[in-house]
Subunit: 471 residues, 2 copies
Amino acid sequence: MPASPLAPAWLSEPSDANALAEGVWPASAHRDETGGAVVGGVSVREVVARFGTPLLVIDEDEVRGRARRTVAAFSAAAAARGTSARVYYAGKAFLSTEIARWVTAEGMRVDVCTQGELEVALAAGVPAEHLGFHGNNKSVAELRRAVETGVGTIVLDSEIELERLSRIAADAGRTQAVLIRVNTGVHAETHHFLATAHEDQKFGFPLAEAARIVERIRRAPGLRFDGLHCHIGSQIFGTDGFRESAARLLEVLSIVGDGGEPAPILNLGGGFGIAYTSADEATPIEQLADGILEVVAAESAARGIPVPVVAFEPGRSIVGTAGVTLYEVGTTKDVTVDTETGPAVRRYVSVDGGMSDNARHALYGADFSARIASRVSEAGTQLVRVVGKHCESGDVVVDAEYLPDDVSPGDLLAVPVTGAYCQPLSSNYNHVPRPPVVAVRDGAARVIVHGETVTDLLARDAGLHPSRGEE
Amino acid sequence: MPASPLAPAWLSEPSDANALAEGVWPASAHRDETGGAVVGGVSVREVVARFGTPLLVIDEDEVRGRARRTVAAFSAAAAARGTSARVYYAGKAFLSTEIARWVTAEGMRVDVCTQGELEVALAAGVPAEHLGFHGNNKSVAELRRAVETGVGTIVLDSEIELERLSRIAADAGRTQAVLIRVNTGVHAETHHFLATAHEDQKFGFPLAEAARIVERIRRAPGLRFDGLHCHIGSQIFGTDGFRESAARLLEVLSIVGDGGEPAPILNLGGGFGIAYTSADEATPIEQLADGILEVVAAESAARGIPVPVVAFEPGRSIVGTAGVTLYEVGTTKDVTVDTETGPAVRRYVSVDGGMSDNARHALYGADFSARIASRVSEAGTQLVRVVGKHCESGDVVVDAEYLPDDVSPGDLLAVPVTGAYCQPLSSNYNHVPRPPVVAVRDGAARVIVHGETVTDLLARDAGLHPSRGEE
């Protein structure tokens, strides 16, 4: 069958529209003898029978394995250059106490950026000294709470914050270790990077100001300069952008010297790309770690400074591939669309969730894939668009995918790679309750984030529940 | 002072950067003798002292006045052509029991598109026969609940749904009135419209299929054909798109005849544009109503059919301008950006909310304006970008605005026109609690939607609260 003229260039027609692509699905995913998909040893039909749809399933071993492998890769690459590595889990990707426990048990630290994320990490038992605190506008209350709980590192983002934190830490009789977020001028995305002098964004200090800010910190009561931080982008598949930004930050470190402080930290942020569809191929983390540490060592040597302790902040690459969202198909509809080669059919497959549980296509135009999860089909393929149930034409979950032609109401549809930035960005648009999150491992399933009910949503309505103590 | 080279073409430098622009702010908005903004007779400084920031303030009289004026405009325009008008409030724009009570007290009906929205409307005491139920993927449970509660009209979206609803209504011994959602091929946005034969979207039936679907409904047990429905877009400032789509639907009505049923309804949806900034000018609703009804009457006469009952579904134009979000400024930062005419400064003003309470810029690139609300300033102006506190560079609330040059941490910043599609799309991204919604009227303020606390967010974490009855 020829490819649909409506298919985007990157999407090839699969030889088997039942296949659970390696690197896109959790490593544990397979189909059992009935044809139903199994993740973490749990049949998706069974987990749906128990918890309903929509449902976000997280493969615990996938999260733990990626955390372990990432820590090992950076530790080995650092050790080979005579230094060490700190690997923080970027909590913004998806944080709950369970996830914080898994990643810290595998050797990661945790990055937070609000009091809410801080409280989750603390409640999970993450040692405060293993926490990093980010953000362009941390409130006074957030900074106080971070200082008083002993957060290991606070990443300073502005001069206003520098003064604010100095006062708070000094008042509390503490010395707070800080990094400086620097705009290196390097923007990396997928396979390319762009390097500029000025960055038009809300985060950080310009590169040209960094040395001056280090000196301000060294004079400020209550603060200790611990190093530099940058974050150059998302979904990055190579090392070039990291190498360029590392070189720029090492130049700053060579200028400011060690000031008698412990050897400074070079935190290069996160952004390691993962495969959202079969068209993507993630770079092995060992290759990224080695490529980045190689340049850090070489650029340090060229400047005659010791190789700094390095730090990284992966989030998506730890938890993204571990998540699979399960929906039930509600309706299907063939829509004829005019194309340059004549009319073509796009099948709209409507599921019982949408942009409320996965806003990534609506927000970023992100691509995903989909599979019928409840059965295998011998039917030919049909180009589909998976859409949600919201009253909005932009409510698209999977823009383009080939599915078996017999996809029907009642089928379970699985969208993999929804472990990162789906639950955190979820809303109650159209008063749709947010789904539960269920962890699967060794054949067992358990709720890690409770789902909502319509009753939960109505509890915020003050016309029905006048008193909740705000007034 | 020359305009900033970073300002978009539509943004002019204001003569007074303290002015609360007419049509952008609620009609009640003004500054009191201290310079602080007042909405609904309530000082924003006082409402913030009581409820904190961020805070969504809704001017009740603005909502009621717009509802009343819209109903009056369509009723008068319809009566002048010998027919009547039904005006539904599109609940998706922002629904709570209080808002449902206000708009229905002013003569509106209510549109819902999920069970959640249905329950809010019913809990508010909206008569079920005054409800319309929309959506491309209503579940069996939702359709059952709609039929059993006596929802006035269900808008059919697919043949699968037609069969489903026929079965449900017949089983319940009911006759359910239905409209057919038709893709007229007309897409309207702001001042332009586009007309095509085929529409590449998830909603509705193709125009060419509409007559066949009417016949299917007439043969289906449990259903009664009540008319046609279309929705042609958002933020529409003229009548041309409505006129073209009305003509196309009247052609279908002339073909299918009245079938012995009550005179069919012509529901032309919503989409009436409002002013988000001073650069926009909303078309008076009376002018829209008259222009649309004129063509409905003329096209009906041309086909020799009676002028149908007309229906409309405004949401944004009822509630959008009534909402003002109040933030506290946390940090400001001047960023130098390279432009064609040399380096220019953009000031980033960070507030204590962001894309979690207003996702419209992140989702749609929507423009908003901003004002310092706690005081007036005699300072010159500075081009700013208002950004949130989320760990994401796309976390922009107001992309470009001129504010007084002395805007500082601690200032209250107000962003008007946030009454529609902000609260409904709000999330807990970065574990940020969603703000309360406070109605103001005649100098009094009261909560209509409760805000959340970090404790509320942690209540969904099953690692901390294992049992909530799901299992």
